[in-house]
Every structure is written in C-alpha cells, then in structure tokens.
Amino acid sequence: MKWLLLPLLLLSLTLSAAIDTYEFDNDVARKRFRQLSEELRCPKCQNQNLAGSNSAIAADLKDRLYQMVDEGKSTEQIKKYMVERYGEFVLYKPSVKPMTYALWYGPFVLLFIGLFVGVALSRKKAKGDTRATATAQSIAAEPGEMQQDIAEQQTHAQRMKDLLGKKDD
C-alpha cells in the first residue's frame, strides 16, 4: 500500500495548484474563468493579465469576471463588457476588425513580400547562371569551327610570307 502514497501525494499537489480562490460548479466554468483571466489585461498594471496581477482593479475585474462566468455569460459577452469599459486595450488577443487588420495580417503581408523578393532574386541568379553556362557550352560544342579559323589564319600568314619572300628575290 505504501507504493501508492507518493503518486497520490503528487496528484493532490497538482490538484490544489489548480484551485483558485474562486469556487466553481463545474470544470468548464473554471476553465473559462482561467482562460479569460489570462486573456484579459489589467488596466492599471500594464503588461500583466488579470490572473497575474494583485492590484485592486485586477481583483475587482476578476470578481466581475467570476460573477459573469457564474451567470453563464458567453465569452463574447464578457469581452464586450470589458471593452465597453476599458477599451480594446484590455484584450491581450485583440479582435479582428478593420482597426486591427494591420496587426493581424501585417506580418503575413511582410512575409509574402519577403518570399516574393527572395524568389525573384533567386530566379534572377539562376537565369544569369544558365546564360553563362550556355556560352561555355556553345564554345565546347563547336571546336571544329575554331580550329578551322585558326587554320585559315595560318594559311593567310603563310601566303603573306610567301609574297614578301618573292619580293625580296
């Protein structure tokens, strides 16, 4: 029986850590309360959420949040209630609307521009490479022609020499 003790102790620890000072009828409500108190921002102590703040206003808002969750208000209703009073600021996860489009979609636009520029640049580079290799290949492919040229030039030179030699005579 002793071997059960340790896991049981550990289990009870994790459970007590999950219990807040607020009491809930069910797990769904508790989960909603926790999620919302993490998503809502404390207006006084900025950069902290309601869950993490001990300020008086955060306590008030948590009380209100608890009350609303308890009454079965929807997440939308609760967020609307908070935004009506404290503005968009209270939402750590701002809602998607024309004012926040830049915030939500801006990074994707920048990513797209980056990808576009990257692709364009690499394609340009690839094009330049193929052109260079094409010239090299064309030289390599027709060696006969060049040899012919050289041979022609040599005969020209020989002929000139002959002519000059004749003049000397």
Binding site: P43, K44, Q46, I57, L61, R64, R85, Y86, G87, F89
Partner: protein, 179 residues
C-alpha cells in the same frame, strides 16, 4: 527604373523608424477612455453626506461639470484637493465627486478637514460605478456636458496645466467661468 525598386527597403525602414519614434513619445499608461462620447453610465447610489439620498445619472445633466473620482486612500487625490478647492471657489466650476471604494466616515472627515469643493458626492463604496466608467486608478476627472455625455477624461492629478486643457474643452461645450 529598376534602381528605384532598390529604395523600397529603405523606405520601409524610414517609415517604421518614424512610427517607433512616435511610439516612444507616447505615454503608455494613458489609456483612451472607451466611454468618451457616450452617456454617463446609469447608476443609483447614495450621497456621501446623506445615505438616504439616492443619486442617479440624471443628477449630472443640465450643466457642464467636472466629475472627479477620489478616495481618502489615494495620495494623489490629497495633492489635487487644494486645486479643486481653488477651481470651485475662484473659477466657479461645479465639481461632482465620486467617492470611490472608500468609507463614508473617513470621506466626511476628509471633506471637513480639507474643505469641500464638490456640489455633491456619490458614494461608490463597492466601486461598481467606477467599473462602469472604466476607472483604473484614482484620481480621474471627467468632463460631462449638459446632456450627461462624457466628453473627456483625465487620469491623474488635476493641476494648472491640466486645467488649461479642461477649461478649453468646457468652454467649447458652452461653459463659462462665473465668479
């Protein structure tokens, strides 16, 4: 033509730079009130001086007034109290007080000791009205027009500098100093 394209990254950098510099000069603790341009939230709360007297948002209509959220536990409120006294006595500003999350006895003692610049005080013991107003730290001062619509909010101490701003806003709403 292609050369111009090379300046696009520079342009983006400059634009972001301007935005960031502007961001640095903003005060992040000053939040825009979500209530500006909206009617004062409805409430039904007792007066500080008389627990039987119920006040409501209707009591705020009729004149351009300042609504000042204060409490005895708030040090900045103490600092601005003298200035509010001056506004009430020398400029004839009508100031409505909201005694926010305070005790009636302490509030009355405070008003006796430091003078009372308020035409009346709303006793918001639980902070419910404060919550509806979006108060996040006392003192806060609101400009409310004749229709009971909130026109401006100032968070923090009201002093000469702030009053200059508030005065212009109040005058635009048809208020004039009466002596």
């Amino acid at each position: 033509m292609r050369r111009i394209l090379l300046f696009i990254p520079l342009g983006i950098c400059v634009l972001l730079g301007v935005l960031f510099v502007k961001g640095l000069s903003l005060n992040p603790t000053e939040l825009p009130s979500a209530r500006i341009g909206k009617a004062f939230p409805s409430f039904s709360l007792p007066s500080v001086s008389d627990a039987k007297q119920l006040l409501s948002e209707q009591s705020l209509k009729g004149k351009v007034r300042l609504v000042n959220v204060w409490a005895t536990w708030c040090p900045t409120c103490k600092r601005e109290h003298g200035f509010l006294n001056k506004l009430a006595s020398t400029e004839g500003v009508e100031i409505v007080g909201i005694n926010y999350k305070d005790e009636r006895g302490k509030a009355l003692q405070w008003l006796k000791r430091y003078q009372d610049p308020y035409i009346f005080n709303i006793y918001d013991e639980k902070g419910g009205l404060g919550l509806d107003l979006g108060v996040y730290g006392a003192p806060e001062t609101y400009v409310v027009d004749t229709q009971g619509v909130i026109q401006y909010r100032h968070v923090g101490e009201v002093n000469d500098k702030v009053w200059k701003k508030l005065k212009v806003i109040m005058q635009d709403l048809g208020w004039s100093a009466k002596l």
